[in-house]
């Protein structure tokens, strides 16, 4: 039993990415209210507005993007904006009429329609009134799920669907939240790491870290029904201590990467995991200096592998 109380000067070191690299990277950073340009030829896009006749002013803190004559500001910290086909991890916040409201770290709750889910047993039919009454047996308030963005209507409320065996309720693990901009878009967002941990990298910045569950191939109809019923189960499988420690280690590695603004992808997580094995206990990664060590070393390994 011990506890450390640090002074900020001991745990927060000045960022060594100095101003010079920022200037060399040719990045135009602006703060809210800062004038971007006085040139009348440019048009305002997202995150910019006209102040007076020709002055273009930023409404966000972020990076200026220019496409021909259009100027937009990409915010540094933002909520998830949603795009069709994105894999997102979310939490049910409300059960409504024929739909669920899902928290996906966006500006508004996403919608999951009753017609956009798979029924247990995999039966294909129109959803009836009795299905409507049984909605809480599928998803109740607080449940975690992984889904795909089906459409993004003009009001930016994302419509989700879970009509694939990949999607559905989440169990056997815990949630790690990172800024959505850090999630690297790639072919698959479902990863089984070699250490026996499954990771679902939601593009909305919610990451589900869980024990690896081998999906048994459905051989006959009875089997298919069992798998489908497990789809909406709230019961965790038996998880041994070694797996729990591995889940904690992966989760802490992701936190370490995110706290140092490093991209989160399966390779980054694996590099961080390998580096983190130098520390006996996963909880040691919660210490700021150890987290920094893991993050910087993982970054080095990625740079080396690219050369």
């Amino acid at each position: 039993m011990d506890v450390q109380i640090h002074l900020p000067s001991h745990v927060r070191v000045a960022d060594d990415r100095d101003d010079e690299t920022m200037i060399n990277a040719n990045v135009h950073l602006v703060t809210p209210g800062e004038t971007i340009t006085n040139d009348p030829q440019f048009m305002k896009g997202h995150g910019a507005y006209n102040d007076g006749d020709h002055t273009l002013v930023s409404s966000l803190g972020g990076v200026v993007d220019q496409i021909n004559k259009l100027i937009t500001v990409r915010p540094l910290r933002t909520r998830y904006s949603g795009a069709v086909g994105d894999v997102v991890v979310g939490r049910i916040v409300e059960v409504g009429q024929k739909r669920w409201a899902v928290d996906v770290n966006a500006r508004q709750h996403a919608q999951l329609m009753l017609s956009a889910i798979n029924l247990p047993g995999g039966v294909q039919r129109r959803k009836s009134e009795s299905d409507e009454l049984a909605m809480r047996t599928f998803f109740a308030e607080g449940d975690m799920l992984v889904a795909e963005a089906q459409s993004v209507p003009t009001d930016r409320s994302i419509a989700l669907h879970t009509r694939s065996t990949k999607y559905g309720k989440l169990r056997n693990g815990c949630l790690v939240t990172v800024p959505p901009a850090l999630i690297v878009r790639c072919k698959s967002h479902f990863h089984s790491l070699p250490c026996g941990v499954d990771v679902i990298l939601g593009l909305n910045g919610y990451i589900w870290v869980a024990a690896h569950v081998a999906a048994p191939p459905a051989i006959d109809e009875a089997d298919a029904r069992v798998t489908a019923e497990a789809l909406y189960s709230n019961q965790n499988d038996e998880i041994d201590v070694a797996t729990r420690l591995n889940i904690a280690r992966v989760a802490n590695c992701i936190r370490a990467l995110a706290s140092h603004d490093l991209p989160v992808s399966d390779t980054m997580i694996m590099y961080a995991y390998e580096v983190s094995l130098a520390y006996d206990q996963p909880a040691e990664l919660l210490t700021a200096s150890n987290a920094r060590d893991v993050a910087t070393q993982a970054q080095l390994m990625v740079q080396q592998s690219m050369e």
Partner: protein, 302 residues
């Protein structure tokens, strides 16, 4: 308490993790997260502190002011506390009612420890300026900027650190002709004195009961799963000053004893660590003074 949503599977994962002594972030049951603390962050306050416990973020400002003495304690000063939680501190604090509830709960928790009876270790007559007339009132105002669990422990630690760096200006009494007295505040800041006895102010350690076991320094989700919790207020020598229980679940007598002891030991450790950190900070400030430089305050950039 702040009530986030949690799924049954997450709750079960946490409960079985506590039983296996591997919590969701890999900590053991009695393991505390690291704290980061800085005092003197508010220029206009008599004493201040910002404390971060992982994602929990608390700012405390202490202000001493002159007021009339209480009629039932004519020679004593007093403390007044308020806790204000930012609406953005947690997602579940969106509506005003739950925000009011947590503000009231935390203000009461703090106020209860700063009544005249609870403050037996501090000589309140030191805050009296003119007996039976005027005294110093120490206003403790805490703002909870972000919540990631275990607010109570962080709150008391931050308040104690802020009070430890609080100075009360010196006063001189002036005799008016008709037997009345008045006072003048001495302008010299070097004459201002710290409040005596703050070092012995009890600290709070919250122990949550999850399943059949108890844990220290719970995260927000762990607090949600806990069936009962006790707040143990203990002195530096690990003697218990006050225990308060909350939550709907029961605690077995034998477990209660174990929980109280765990809490008291942890509180004692926190006392020592806080004293060390404050001493280190004071030494840095002294050194800077001698060399004629200024210690860089991190403030909101910490």
């Amino acid at each position: 308490m702040v009530n986030p949503l949690i799924s049954p599977a997450e709750a079960q994962y946490i409960t079985s993790g506590v039983l296996a002594d591997v919590r969701a972030d890999g900590r053991k049951r009695t393991q505390f997260r690291d704290l980061v603390l800085e005092t003197g962050v508010l220029a206009n306050a008599s004493g201040s502190c910002r404390l971060q416990l992982d994602g929990t973020d608390i700012l405390v400002g202490v202000k001493v002011d002159v007021d009339q003495v209480d009629q039932d304690a004519l020679n004593c000063g007093r403390f007044e506390c308020s806790v204000d939680c930012a609406p953005t501190a947690a997602v579940s604090l969106g509506d005003t009612r739950s925000l009011d509830d947590v503000n009231t709960e935390w203000t009461q928790l703090l106020t209860r420890r700063f009544t005249r009876n609870a403050l037996a270790g501090i000589d309140l007559t030191q805050l009296c300026i003119i007996p039976e007339s005027t005294c110093w009132v120490v206003y403790i105002d805490a703002v909870v900027l972000a919540v990631a669990g275990n607010v109570a422990d962080a709150l008391f630690l931050a308040v104690k650190a802020a009070l430890a760096t609080t100075t009360v200006p010196a006063t001189t009494l002036v005799d008016l002709a008709d037997g009345e007295q008045d006072f003048e505040v001495v302008d010299d800041p070097a004459a201002a004195k710290p409040i005596a006895g703050i070092a012995d102010l009890p600290l709070c350690v919250t122990i949550n009961k999850i399943g059949t076991r108890h844990i220290l320094d719970a995260t927000l989700l762990e607090e949600q799963v806990a069936s009962a919790r006790i707040f143990v207020f203990a002195n530096p020598d690990a003697s218990v000053a006050h225990v308060q229980k909350s939550g709907s679940g029961g605690i077995e007598p034998s477990l209660l004893r174990e929980m109280t002891r765990t809490g008291a030991n942890m509180a004692s450790l926190l006392h020592h660590r806080l004293a060390e950190t404050l001493k280190l900070e004071a030494e840095q400030a002294d050194l800077a003074k001698k060399t004629g430089t200024q210690v860089k305050k991190w403030g909101f950039f910490a």
